[in-house]
Amino acid sequence: MTDSQTSSSPPRPEYKTYGQIVWGQFKKYRLSYYSVYGVLALFVIAMVAPVLAMNVPFYMHIPEGVGPYTQLQGTTSFPWFAALFDQNFFDSGVDIFFNFLLFYVPVSLVGWTLMMRFKKDLTDTARSKARLRFIGIASLVGIVLFSVIYLMAFSQPYVDYASLKELEGARLIFPLIEYSYRDVDLMAVSQGPSLEHFLGTDRQGRDVFTRLIYGTRISLTIGVVAVSIYTAIGLVLGSLAGFFGGRVDNIILRMIEIMMCFPVLFLILTLAGFIEEPSIFHIMLIIGLTGWTGIARLVRGEFLRLRNQDFVQAAIALGFTRARIIFRHVLPNAVQPVFVSATFGVAGAILIEATLSFLGVGPANAPSWGQILTSGRNTQQMTLILSSGFAIFVTISLLNLIGEGLRDATDPKLRK
């Protein structure tokens, strides 16, 4: 019925979607809200790592007849840009991906701003819809572009740019820190903090501060990818069990129970032990394949709850197909606690990686925080232990704060 009060008060033009309500609630949890910016900052650091630290110059000019590299003599070049996609220099796909984002994210943001300049009169709801569509298209284009770049497998021979710096007449402009995370300097092993090396060097003489910056990439990637893997598995299995019930439910529940019989950490350790030289991809896969039980049980529970809700019964009564009921009516209502759990999961996965590295079965070649911690312990260097430990602590705290805020914001009982 029309409420007669609205005629007296000015009508509210816009109505909030469910997501907007949750976001409004979330904003009230100040600490959690600022943590979102913290994590965004970590992401930006991961993206701009090559700008901050890399032993390749942005700009290089070598005069004629100088230096060991004949092909570089008498040229002016921008080796930094080429090196970003050089699979000889960055041997990990993760680095290439973040380097790609370094260009792609700003381009997308500029594109979005320009688009919005032409469509100023959009309502909030229309804007958020357009934003969703833009994000979707941009991600798709990004994935295609990255795949093309990665598959081209561009590589160039190694050049020791640091040695060229000393040459007479050569002009090189380096990033802020002139080291790379793999840059071994045997002349400066296990040093303490100095102006040269802010956090000192490790046993191989690698700059710890640089490794710490690049470690952000590793940690975020491990967290997000591992959690994505197990969330996907958990969602599929949990939905099947919850919606169909009966035999399907029984089989999946038994699978979950069997998985849960093993202590996850020991399972991971065992699996990691089988792999000779584990890379971060192995670690992500292992965490992803062992961590899905929680999500599966969560989704199953949500499905069981929602299956008996009247709006699902109404959907059946309206004659909708099963697939439609699952994907349009049940799943969107079931994913909300999954988001919360996944946020905590990212923090957990980062911690598992650190644990594995500490126990010596981590990705030995990656500049992960866990690896830095371990090397610090081996050489009794407090700066390594404290710096990497602090990085892990901050990241996990931020993620847990977000998770808690999200949990409270989505829980109607805790509405402020």
Binding site: M1, T2, Y15, T125, D310, A314, L318, G319, F320
Partner: protein, 420 residues
């Protein structure tokens, strides 16, 4: 009303929920939520289904729409048995059979706008396409008394009464001819409840709808229904036209139920019939007549023999031994215990003779009427009294009504077990 063609006929509908236990999910019993109910709904008619919580009225409503898969029985919609239909056939038939729910908060998907909640079915069943859908949704909203501009809102913006109207619009979207109203107004405040009841009645006239109106509030049911079925523990105790049921309730349970409704009139603080004890668990319903543990007029066969449905006056069906010519007691004491004396003389349709003669004839089937009564006062749980007369009565009854035979033997079994 009897001239109208039968739209939906329910025959002996049963829904038993298995109780499973242990490692291998062994079935250890079943909750007989709905245990053999039969009724029919005519075109443009409202049939009320009343009963207390746990009597199976909601399960009945959902089973006949196959939202719950019934255990047994037939549901004939325009002559077709919908329980035998395949999934695809059923999906297209669902357009004609809709449901309105009790809880206005859980019945609308919180993630969808009003437009998609109502319009989804229209698009899915290809009733209309494109901008036409929006027009139809706006029209429906207007019809149920909401502003068409509400179309972009989400359910949480609305009050309970408004949500219920959205639920009604959704049910109407496919132009059905039968709607189950499952406690559709129970959760609403008095003033809003009146609005929704009026709306439902207007819509019935306009769209030629039939309702199965499920509720626990007898005054609401009385207001809206043409005929009323009273359910007790999974079975229909009494089924009659509205006026007949309220003026001349026959079943002791109906009588007690009617007298228990508080009347908004302080001068009429009625002498109520207060039923003793609680509703027994449907997991382990009492033997014989399911109401015998609380019935003030319980007599010998009630405890052991399951009553038949009889029709003392045309169109008035009651499932009680008192009106069954075979068992009706001669003893005036038993009738005196009845809270309210039936108005019309108890006659039985189609058969020979009149009521008193009947009672005489059946007196030997119920040899000692007073024996079972003593324990009714305290009886809170069913105590299957297995005496030799039980077996006799059971044996006699089994050939009389074939459809009760299986239930009978089960009863006898359980009685024998508890005896051993």
């Amino acid at each position: 009303m009897s001239v109208a063609p039968t739209l939906l006929e329910v025959r002996n509908l049963k829904k038993h929920f298995p109780i499973k236990k242990g490692l291998f999910n062994r079935q250890v019993g079943s909750v007989k939520a709905v245990d053999g109910i039969s009724f029919e709904v005519n075109a443009n008619e409202t049939v009320g289904l009343v009963g207390e919580s746990g009597c199976g009225k909601t399960t009945a409503g959902r089973s006949l729409l196959r939202l719950l898969e019934p255990t047994d029985g037939e549901v004939l919609y325009k002559g077709q048995d919908i329980l035998k239909m395949g999934p695809a056939e059923m999906r297209s038939l669902r357009r004609n059979l809709q449901i309105i729910f009790q809880d206005p908060f859980s019945s609308l998907n919180p993630r969808m706008t009003i437009e998609s909640i109502i319009g989804e079915a229209i698009t899915f069943h290809k009733v209309a396409q494109g901008p036409e859908v929006r027009e139809m949704v706006e029209g429906l909203l207007e019809r149920v008394g909401l502003q068409p501009s509400y179309i972009t809102r989400y359910p949480h913006e609305f009050s309970g009464g408004q949500r219920q109207r959205v639920g009604i619009a959704r049910a109407l979207a496919l132009n059905p001819d039968f709607i189950v109203c499952d406690e559709a107004v129970s959760a609403l405040d008095v003033s809003v409840q009146a609005q929704v009841i009026n709306l439902l009645m207007d819509l019935q006239q306009e769209f030629n709808l039939s309702y199965l109106f499920i509720a626990h509030d007898l005054s609401v049911v009385q207001h809206i229904s043409d005929r009323i079925a009273v359910m007790y523990l999974g079975q229909i105790a009494e089924f009659a036209e509205c006026d007949e049921l309220y003026d001349n309730p026959l079943h002791p349970y109906t009588q007690a139920l009617l007298s228990a409704i508080p009347q908004p009139n302080p001068r009429r603080r009625a002498q109520r019939i207060i039923l003793k004890g609680d509703v027994p668990s449907p997991m382990n319903p009492p033997s014989g007549c399911r109401f015998h543990t609380r019935c003030p007029a319980c007599f010998a066969p009630c405890k052991t023999v399951e009553p038949r449905t009889v029709e003392p006056t045309p169109g008035h069906k009651v499932r009680c031994h008192l009106y069954d010519p075979e068992f009706a007691p001669n003893d005036p004491d038993i009738w005196a215990r009845l809270p309210r004396q039936p108005e019309a003389p108890v006659t039985v349709t189609g058969d020979e003779g009149d009521a008193p003669a009947k009672r005489d004839a059946s007196s030997d089937a119920a040899p000692d009427g007073t024996d079972g009564v003593a324990s009714t006062e305290a009886a809170e749980t069913a105590e299957p009294a297995a005496t030799s007369t039980v077996e006799e009565a059971g044996a006699e009854r089994s050939d009389v009504s074939s459809d009760n035979a299986s239930a009978e033997s089960a009863e006898a079994d359980s009685a024998a077990k508890s005896n051993a």
